[in-house]
């Protein structure tokens, strides 16, 4: 047990938890004001539901011995987990519950990422059901494959420092599947649906960037040189992607926008996630520059193909996640067998396998779950509810109170 490692991991746990509210506002600023609270709620609710599920079964399914495909229930309820062995080659230098908490934060934010794609039309009741089922049946297994020493991809030597496959590709493909099931927003793309208040998006961006240091550098599970490297590469990729996104945007549309800068930074953070501790700052610079361009271009696809990925979750998280996971095969340091490190293409192959496996499994299971929930509880609100807005129809609230004059009277 090392107090310094513990201090850094606990601080990282807090940072990653803070990312979910950050994400809620990052998305919230981009929706129409009548749907702001619903967006915030879909994200905050994940902090509630997933946390409870994680304690009961989620962690155990992800990190219990089990098989190569999924963990078991031996850690259910986290009873006497203090001295549990999770199978890592070198034993953890932090308390078991610190590891449990850190992994929990990833389990919370991953499905939350999906809500950007389904903005303005997702039925709260359906989301609650999908969220719980998806966490148990999709997140935990995939996390087991990649993050648990017992997982088959882990054993194969596929690398994912902080969740390129488990978090971003996993959520991105689920988002794609979900919007195919629930369809477009009424009026899209003819009717314009511009962001209602970008300042929320910018404060969310600041929180995400801040929290991402816990996400990536915390994944070193200790306060060491690897953590410092992950810290620098994370910041460098975010910065580089902001610059490259703004550059292409300026070329294409004539303006470097605030939303573009924020989006580029997030794209870079997504792409560096699988690579953070395995590459050096210059490689992070390259990864960021590439991700910024690719994700910007990917944002245009939805208009071409007509799928309403409302806040570009697919363009940023699926595309960005794949970009990072594959580029890791190219840029990983010598020690980790990257192409430029002279490691040949074998790592590239493993990365491609991990990406493919995640896309297929998450895509298929997410689709089945979405269909089941849609047919039973329903995943999309009624047309009138969509028109009046999710805040009123789903939560009986307004994000911004009507005019100053007292237009209300208390009833019950």
């Amino acid at each position: 047990m090392d107090t310094g490692d513990t201090a850094w991991v606990l601080a990282s746990c807090a940072l990653v938890l803070f990312m979910t509210p950050g994400l809620a506002f990052f998305y919230g600023g981009m929706v129409r004001s009548k749907n702001l609270l619903a967006m915030l709620m879909q994200n905050f609710f994940a902090m509630g539901l997933i946390s409870v599920i994680w304690v009961l079964v989620g962690f155990s399914l992800a990190f219990g011995p089990g098989s190569g495909l999924v963990g078991d229930l031996s850690f259910g309820g986290l009873a006497d987990i203090a001295n549990a062995d999770f199978g890592f080659a070198s034993p953890l230098t932090i308390p078991a519950l610190a590891f449990v908490a850190f992994q929990m934060m990833f389990a919370i934010i991953t499905p939350a990422l999906i809500t950007g794609a389904t903005a303005d039309r997702l039925k709260f009741g359906g989301w609650v059901a999908f969220l719980g089922l998806w966490s148990v049946l999709v997140y935990s297994p995939v996390a087991h494959w990649v993050f648990s020493p017992h997982g088959w991809l882990f054993k194969r030597g596929a690398l994912d420092f902080a969740g390129g496959t488990v978090v971003h590709i996993n959520a991105g493909i689920a988002a794609l599947v979900l919007i195919l099931v629930i369809g477009k927003r009424k009026g899209w793309p003819k009717e314009a649906m511009p962001p209602h208040a970008l300042p929320w998006t910018l404060i969310g961006t600041g929180i995400l960037w801040f929290g991402w240091f816990g996400f990536n550098a915390g994944s070193a599970l200790g306060a060491n040189a690897t953590a410092a490297t992950a810290f620098m590469t994370t910041n460098t990729a975010a910065a580089a992607a902001m610059l490259s996104w703004l550059a292409v945007e300026k070329l294409k549309s004539g303006h470097a926008t605030t939303l573009g800068g924020a989006s580029g930074a997030v794209a870079g953070l997504v792409a560096i996630t699988p690579c953070a501790g395995f590459v050096n700052p210059m490689a992070a610079l390259a990864i960021g520059l590439i991700a910024g361009v690719l994700c910007f271009l990917a944002c245009q696809l939805k208009f071409k193909f007509g799928f309403d990925d409302s806040l570009d979750v697919i363009a940023v998280h699926l595309v960005g996640g794949i970009t990072g996971s594959i580029l890791l095969g190219v840029f990983a340091n010598e020690a980790f067998g990257g192409l430029i490190g002279g490691g040949g293409s074998s790592l590239l192959g493993k990365q491609a396998l991990a990406v493919g496996a995640t896309i297929v499994y998450s895509g298929v299971v997410s689709f089945i779950l979405a269909k089941i929930v849609d047919k039973t509880i329903g995943l999309r609100v009624a047309e009138d509810d969509e028109a009046s807005g999710l805040d009123l129809s789903q939560h009986a609230e307004s994000a911004y109170a009507a005019g100053e004059f007292g237009s209300m009277g208390r009833v019950g």
């Binding site: 028109a387 009507a402 209300m408 208390r410 009833v411």
Partner: protein, 112 residues
């Protein structure tokens, strides 16, 4: 001259604008208002306490026009803003003695 004032549903503004453009109307002024009428408001809940909101968001459209065009403009608005649901709103007509274009000082018809 006439002033056509219409109270419509917010999401109908674009349709009304296009309908008026089609008629050759060159300008109009719109503003956000709150309406009270047959259309009921809604209820909100905060920490278990319920509140009723009687007012409904509406948009007011004002168009100053020549007497001759007034009737046509009213019809165009009515057709464009209609959803056949309660709360579609009203259109009313008042007389304008004169109008000036600030930029040029032109009056009456030329000011439109």
């Amino acid at each position: 001259m006439k002033l056509v004032t219409a109270i419509i549903k917010p999401f109908k503004v674009d349709d009304v604008k296009e309908a008026l453009r089609a008629l050759g109307v060159q300008g109009m002024t719109v503003s956000e208002v709150q309406g009270f009428g047959r259309q009921r408001g809604h209820t909100e809940v905060y920490r278990g306490a319920e509140y009723t909101v009687d007012f409904v968001p509406k948009v007011k459209v004002e168009v100053v026009t020549d007497d001759a065009d007034a009737a046509g403009i009213v019809d165009a608005i009515v057709n464009a803003a209609r959803t056949d649901k309660i709360g579609d709103g009203k259109v009313w007509l008042t007389t304008v003695e004169n109008i000036v274009r600030i930029r040029t000082g032109e009056m009456g018809h030329d000011a439109l």
